[in-house]
């Protein structure tokens, strides 16, 4: 039920109303002393308990999450987070351990981290793993620091260029810049594959690393990956894989076998830990054996029968205070162990099948970026609908009215009016069919009644927001009228 008349709590305030009436305490009352810490200029709402409870309960019912409905947000892999992961991470020994406890006291925790390092190493084919990065972008940053340190160590400080395709996630050039590297753009073809000629022209003795996303941000597998990694290696550079799309590759291929030296993986995507406001991220970095000595610390190793934290010989340093997001690591570990090797491969197979099913059913209605089979996500273009005045953003808003979260829009930047759809393996055919039906309905409507789309959403607590005005003149705090 939607109550468009929801009044802000501040505006419900009536002088003298209280949430709690305490009984008299039977001792004389004294007023608080005057102090600069007692500010009188802050308006606080005076409301009854019932009104307070209703206010927040009603607001909470407006939350949209993977637990409430389909969330086809391309590149974000909004898959279901099995509740068993939550139960296991809540076991007292995990949840109550303190990061300052000695190694002897937390052997079980360290063993889980050690095993998870090995599992991620096996999955990606890059056996040396640090669980320290707190998010995908920090994993990228750690990976680039490792690449830079490797070259410095080999007396090649001149290598300060990161080659990055124009279809990359925006975090790639940002991470390169943070790591002190200059980002140089590599062109991609219309289908998002790396332009080999442009790559050959730009590779030189100053290249530190090539960063590429596999599958690409267009949801396609890079057909020339072996040639690309060879070109970079022949020039003395390293290859970094952005593992944001690892959900498509589990048990099918390994980064390490494709000539990639470094990658990261977002546990909060591929390994089903909460994200998108639902929990802290985690972006472990995986490297080939020859780069192990540069990993961030603490790194976990097994020494005799004991698990210990140590600092690798030429470590790039600490990324944060303690171990990374430990609770998230436990959830990812539980996910991997509950599925096993075969189960993980099925995850990727089903993610690919679901995305291709959507692509096939929608290709008559929306422009496809590529005629090739996609991997775990498909990128459609609303260029046909645009001719009738309906843009990708309008379609996204109309989907909200239909009860779905919007897909990723306007990314990759190289696709006009992009709509990037990632169903993940979690969704049933019935749910996916409902989404397809809504997408087809919107496409039909764009020809017959485009206004109904361009005015959407109409069934939500707020209608079309003025995004430009919100960005130009944001109002970030309540103001008394």
């Amino acid at each position: 039920m939607i109550n468009k008349e929801q009044t802000l709590l501040m505006n419900q305030s009536k002088k003298g109303r209280k949430a709690i009436n305490l009984p008299s305490i039977g001792v004389p009352e004294t007023s608080l002393p005057d102090s600069k810490f007692l500010r009188k200029d802050i308006e606080l709402p005076e409301v009854a308990q019932l009104d307070l409870i209703r206010y927040f309960t009603n607001l909470s019912s407006l939350n949209y999450s993977i637990d409430t409905n389909f969330y086809p947000l391309g590149s974000c892999t909004m898959k279901y987070n099995p509740k068993i992961n939550e139960q296991i991470s809540a076991i007292k020994g995990f949840a109550s351990s303190h990061p300052n406890q000695s190694d002897e006291n937390i052997q079980g925790n360290l063993e889980i981290m050690y095993d998870l390092q090995n599992e991620l190493g096996e999955i990606t084919g890059l056996p040396a793993v640090s669980l320290a990065p707190l998010a995908g972008a920090q994993g990228e940053y750690a990976g680039l620091l490792i690449a830079r340190e490797y070259h410095n160590h080999n007396n090649q400080k001149n290598r300060n260029i990161a080659l990055i395709p124009d279809s990359a996630h925006g975090t790639n050039p940002a991470s390169a810049s943070m790591a002190g590297l200059d980002a140089v753009t590599i062109k991609t073809t219309n289908e998002g594959d790396i332009d080999l000629e442009d790559l050959k022209n730009k590779v030189n003795e100053n290249v530190c690393v090539l960063m590429l996303t596999l599958p690409s941000t267009l949801g396609l597998f890079e057909p020339n990956i072996l040639e690309i990694t060879k070109i970079i290696h022949d020039n003395g550079g390293l290859v970094y894989a952005d593992g944001a799309n690892l959900n498509a590759l589990l048990g099918i291929t390994k980064f390490g076998e494709l000539g990639i030296d470094i990658c990261h993986s977002n546990l909060h995507k591929t390994f089903s830990t909460p994200h998108g406001g639902g929990g802290p991220g985690s972006g472990p970095v995986m490297v080939a054996k020859f780069l192990e000595k540069y990993l961030p610390y603490p790194h976990i190793k097994k020494d005799g029968g004991k698990f210990i934290q140590y600092k690798p010989e030429f470590s790039v340093g600490r990324l944060n205070g303690f171990y990374g997001s430990f609770g998230i690591l436990v959830r990812a570990y539980a996910y991997i162990r509950s599925l096993g090797a075969e189960g993980l491969r099925e995850i990727s197979e089903n993610a690919i099948i679901n995305a291709n099913y959507i692509q096939e059913r929608l290709k008559e209605h929306y422009e496809l970026t590529s005629s090739r089979r996609c991997m775990h996500e498909t990128v459609l273009s609303a260029s046909k609908q645009k001719e009738d005045g309906v843009k990708a953003i309008d379609i996204a808003k109309k989907l909200l009215d239909e009860g779905f979260h919007a897909p990723t829009m306007y990314f990759p930047l190289i696709v006009e009016e992009a709509l990037m759809i990632e169903p993940t393996e979690s969704e049933s055919k019935e749910t996916i069919d409902k989404f397809i039906t809504a997408m087809i309905k919107i496409s039909e409507l764009s020809k017959t009644n485009p206004d109904e789309i361009t005015n959407a959403p109409l069934n939500l607590p707020v209608e079309r927001l003025d995004e430009a005005q919100a960005a130009r003149n944001p109002v970030l705090a309540w103001e008394k009228k």
Binding site: F411, E467, A471, R472
Partner: protein, 125 residues
């Protein structure tokens, strides 16, 4: 179809340039403005700098994306449209007049040979 003034020259990156004696005025085209959508921020960090043709002179941010801005002609950046910095919507409202972004002092016009006229620009959009 986007309006393309005949008196301007255009880069493949969708900037326009107008030459008046040794001053070049630069902005982005209507096609670029429409593709970007509502502009929310214009950032120019190149005042007083000498730039070569197609060097980056700033960034423009819309509700969709951030894009780099490139000078279509070599020269020294001598003026920024201050009114635009506070009113980025000028780019959407009137990209060829109120929405101009920078002025360059130029030495010669030979760079213009690398640019497109209105008919050639029409063909690439």
């Amino acid at each position: 179809m986007s309006e393309i003034p005949k008196n301007l020259k255009y880069s493949k990156d969708h900037e326009w340039v107008e030459i008046s004696e040794n001053i070049a005025t630069v902005g982005i085209t209507l096609h670029a403005a429409e593709s970007l959508g509502d502009i929310v921020y214009v950032d120019v960090n190149s005042l007083d700098k000498n730039l070569s043709q197609f060097d980056k002179f700033g960034e423009i941010e819309s509700v969709k994306a951030v894009s780099d801005l490139y000078v279509p002609i070599s020269g020294k950046v001598i003026e920024i449209n201050e009114a635009l910095l506070n009113n980025p919507e000028f780019v959407n409202e009137d990209c060829y007049d109120k929405g101009w972004i920078i002025k360059l002092e130029i030495n010669d016009t030979k760079d213009l040979e690398e640019l497109l006229n209105s008919e050639e620009y029409q063909k690439i959009i």
